[in-house]
Symmetry: C2
Subunit: 219 residues, 2 copies
């Protein structure tokens, strides 16, 4: 199926808003995410329904149909592969790559996608630690443990970030924390749950909020 750029972006938006539980998605939520108006969204939902990509009942909400979800995941795969390319091969910072990948993800050539994946060593996770679905749309498993759940004395590995906003990415980059770094939990402040951490030999203090947005694994 040959989708327009707009159609692809709507599928992606619905995919992300509906989340892993595949909830019904409101017209307004889509409008807000795509920075457009509800009326515009309604038009597009009718169009996507006619194409069989979503199930949509007026006033009820929308969710992706199977075809629609497959397509959305395909775009996500391309997005995350390109982000990996930009960081690994072209030395971009992880906070810079999203915008460029938003363009690259729409390039149509499955051969290109698969060769790119291969060139990158078929990575399972992108530079933010987000899972890259394989060609069949299957996501690799990731522990969804965040740093705020760790305990004093734990030795941890940084696996990713939950919040991929430019602000947070910049903050984390400024601290010098990168994927794969090891961290030791030295203490937790009982007043505000902020954490005292040992990272690359030096000591760091992170707010509970920051910790809740860093994925880690034990060991």
């Amino acid at each position: 199926m040959q989708l327009s750029l707009a159609e692809e972006n709507y599928l992606k938006a619905i995919y992300f808003i509906s989340g892993p539980e595949r909830n019904l998605v409101n017209t307004n939520a889509v409008a807000e995410r795509l920075d457009t108006k509800a009326a515009t969204v309604t038009d597009m939902l009718r169009k996507l329904k006619k194409k069989g990509l979503v199930s949509y009942e007026p006033y009820k909400g929308v969710r992706l149909a199977e075809t629609g979800e497959k397509l959305a995941i395909g775009i996500l795969r391309k997005h995350r592969l390109w982000e990996t390319f930009l960081v690994e091969k072209l030395s971009f910072g992880w906070e810079e790559v999203h915008e460029i990948a938003e363009q690259l993800e729409h390039v149509r050539s499955s051969k290109l996608t698969e060769r790119l994946a291969n060139f990158l060593g078929n990575p399972q996770f992108d530079p933010h630690g987000d899972p890259i679905p394989n060609k069949e749309g299957v996501f690799p498993r990731r522990e969804n443990l965040t740093l705020d759940k760790a305990e004093v004395g734990d030795f941890l590995l940084v696996k990713g970030v939950k919040d991929s906003s430019v602000d947070f990415l910049n903050y984390v980059a400024k601290l010098g924390i990168r994927l794969g770094d090891s961290i030791e939990v030295m203490g937790v402040e009982s007043f505000d749950q902020s954490m005292k951490l040992k990272h690359e030999g030096s000591v760091l203090h992170l707010s509970a909020m920051a910790c809740a947005n860093i994925y880690i694994s034990r060991g």
Copy 2:
């Protein structure tokens, strides 16, 4: 200046049709190249003129203004860099890359373009041997000597192809001829100017037409 995809494609089309002599370009020629109708082209030319990208007088023809040419060359730079990436890094055949590069060339990020160029080792020529303009829009020089101009006994290097159509590229690839290969002219058939060549140890026969589409250098 933020151009639409259509606008970029018109600039490119005018650039190629006008050739190195920067000739006036007919409405019909643009229509044919872009597989569209003359009326549509007229509309777009008026739009491009209003933006200052072309000089255009009704019934006379169109040519690129300085800004328009700069933009066209910028797109060409991106196109040829991406082609180089696809062939050098992703092992695509030179006949496959044009279509994909047509999409990639529209990705907007000068930082991406320059990092890509750097990643590729700032190549001067693309996989077809076509010159890649630098950031400032300056083209590297290429000898414009073609194989049909060579003489018996000449030792030559393959520098590129003049005709980049899929058909011709496939033909040349099938013969096993690649950029940088060396060729010795063993003879020219006086009847039809076809050439007998030694290439990689074996003997080849090429029509005059094929020879006229292969760029070479002496030595």
